[in-house]
């Protein structure tokens, strides 16, 4: 990489002259500016990012810590963050916590050495289960702002972007009740994390309000054979006529299992799941989904963080932004 020094030497001027010329300073003569710019162009000069970071004490880099990159929702949020960050000239360094508290701490520690200006993160499951938040507080007190999304720690004072999980599930359940469904099951693999709990509560509220039915919940562990679990559940509960799935794979499998058992979907059974467009397009009939607008969640998180970074002097109040889900009706509901 060419440096200012080399350009200066070749042009027989000082380093600062070159620097000023390239930064369009008024101080430098027109002719000099021209010569400098031409040579810089020729050698494809690019200011060294590291030197700039050191000088300006900011890296224009955001640390993103997510629990699982293979989760389509989280990947999509990452996409949203990346796109928004790029728009503002920020890069993102991605770390994957693998749902582990230890790895989450480690990533935070490793990047809090001047590598990044701030963090966007989604809590690891273990972090939520153990309810540890000290590492977040410490990071923030070091002057590195954090924006949490989806799975957040309410006791940490920072910006947050969340989804209306409770309301969305409540409303989805309501919509099945309006279809006169009388035996709606809630299926979930997300028992450990906050959003899983919120979704279950939304479902329960809707069911309990009917004063007629009892909630019916099927929880599946990560290590279970999901197809078997759902199949045997359906065989035991033959009157199931509606499914609310807290995650896409439960929804997809429930739908396929229903079809396999000869149920007409949606005639005999409706299915709604938290899932993406592509999930919906893969099932026959196409799945009715609760969409979380992951990209917007990511974009919002990036905006909140960048906004905070660029107003460092002024203390801004912490904000919590709710990105509302949308129920996209498709062919798996009436």
């Amino acid at each position: 990489m060419v440096t200012l020094k080399q350009l200066a030497k070749e042009l027989n001027v000082s380093i600062s002259t070159v620097s000023k010329a390239l930064n369009n300073s008024e101080e430098i003569g027109e002719e000099t500016v021209k010569r400098v710019k031409e040579l810089a162009e020729l050698y494809n000069y690019k200011p060294n990012k590291v030197a700039l970071s050191l000088k300006q004490n900011k890296t224009k880099t955001i640390g993103v810590i997510i629990p699982d990159i293979l989760n389509h929702f989280l990947a999509k949020v990452l996409f949203g963050v990346e796109r928004e960050a790029t728009k503002y000239g920020y890069n993102i360094i991605t770390c994957i916590s693998n749902e582990s508290l230890e790895q989450e701490k480690e990533s935070l520690r490793l990047l809090a050495n001047g590598s990044v200006d701030g963090f966007i993160l989604c809590l690891a499951e273990e972090t939520q289960v153990k309810n540890e938040i000290e590492h977040f507080k410490k990071t923030i007190s070091q002057g590195l702002p954090i924006v949490m999304f989806d799975r957040v720690a309410h006791d940490v004072l920072c910006d947050k972007v969340i989804v209306d999980d409770f309301d969305a599930t409540y409303n989805a359940t309501k919509s099945l009740l309006l279809e006169k469904r009388k035996n709606i099951v809630f299926i979930s693999t997300l028992d450990g994390i906050s959003v899983g709990k919120l979704r279950e509560r939304g479902y329960r509220k809707a069911i309990l309000e009917t004063n007629t039915f009892e909630p019916l919940v099927l929880k599946i562990k990560k290590k279970d054979d999901q197809q078997k679990k759902i199949m045997s559940f359906f065989k035991k509960n033959t009157t199931i006529d509606g499914v609310i799935a807290a995650d896409s794979s439960s929804g997809i499998i429930a739908l396929n299992t229903g079809v396999k058992l000869g149920l007409k979907v949606p005639k005999n059974m409706s299915v709604i799941a938290y899932a993406s467009k592509s999930d919906s397009f893969h099932t026959i009939p196409k799945l009715t989904t609760i969409r979380q607008h992951a990209k917007e969640i990511g974009a919002n998180a990036a905006q909140l963080l960048i906004n905070r970074l660029q107003n460092k002097s002024i203390e801004i109040d912490v904000k919590t932004k709710i990105v509302k889900t949308t129920l996209i009706k498709s062919k798996s509901t009436l």
Copy 2:
């Protein structure tokens, strides 16, 4: 963040003494080392990453450019890269090209300013279609090594990690022929990219070798309604008894469409697709898949790059590593 300067001041010693003490230099007195380390611990001192990068002229950061983060395969490769890189103390900066040549160039340009020590990337579709490679060559000539994976540019001299697409598809097709399938269709949405072509060729070779059947290929464009295309294709070609899908969604939809049309899978029709474990677990019956071992691809790419970075003086020959796929037989084949 605490700096050496601050520690030095507080301890009434020089900056270099502190630096040496923390780096366990023999030169410094035992007592001093102890005092320094204690204070550093107290203040939670961490060497500033940016300053180190500037000094040592390397960032211990890898730039990863992928065309699409929502592609499960690519996300998994990213995961593999991240894990391997972390193991060796490298961070990764992720850029998403969105299958666009322009964005790919831009990402390369933006990070080639000292932000990263090298690149791991998968070519954007547009890059492959237009066959542009100048930006790669330029980057490499600037001293930034590149490792390409999956979709690679054969005319660029650099390390590569690829999959045995041709052989794998050939063998998968063979295995359906062994099942006495007589009307096997190849379905793909990957027409523009190298791996899509290789897969098609592998299929064609196997079919042509039979000297009995003609290849039958269904190509689907990204913007098409995939379900409709496949459904109408199946209705027109009622004797289809085997499917080789170049991508997971074609495979999943083909299987579901077969079931929908009343075909018994695998009795009447077998389906094999390039897809992941989770895709396989979502269909009923479970999909037989060609697994690409994305994580290993990522890990291999990271190893190749890090190896090259750490032997910068010695010119090593470029390597192409082939990560073999595995055909995982499940319930969608006999």
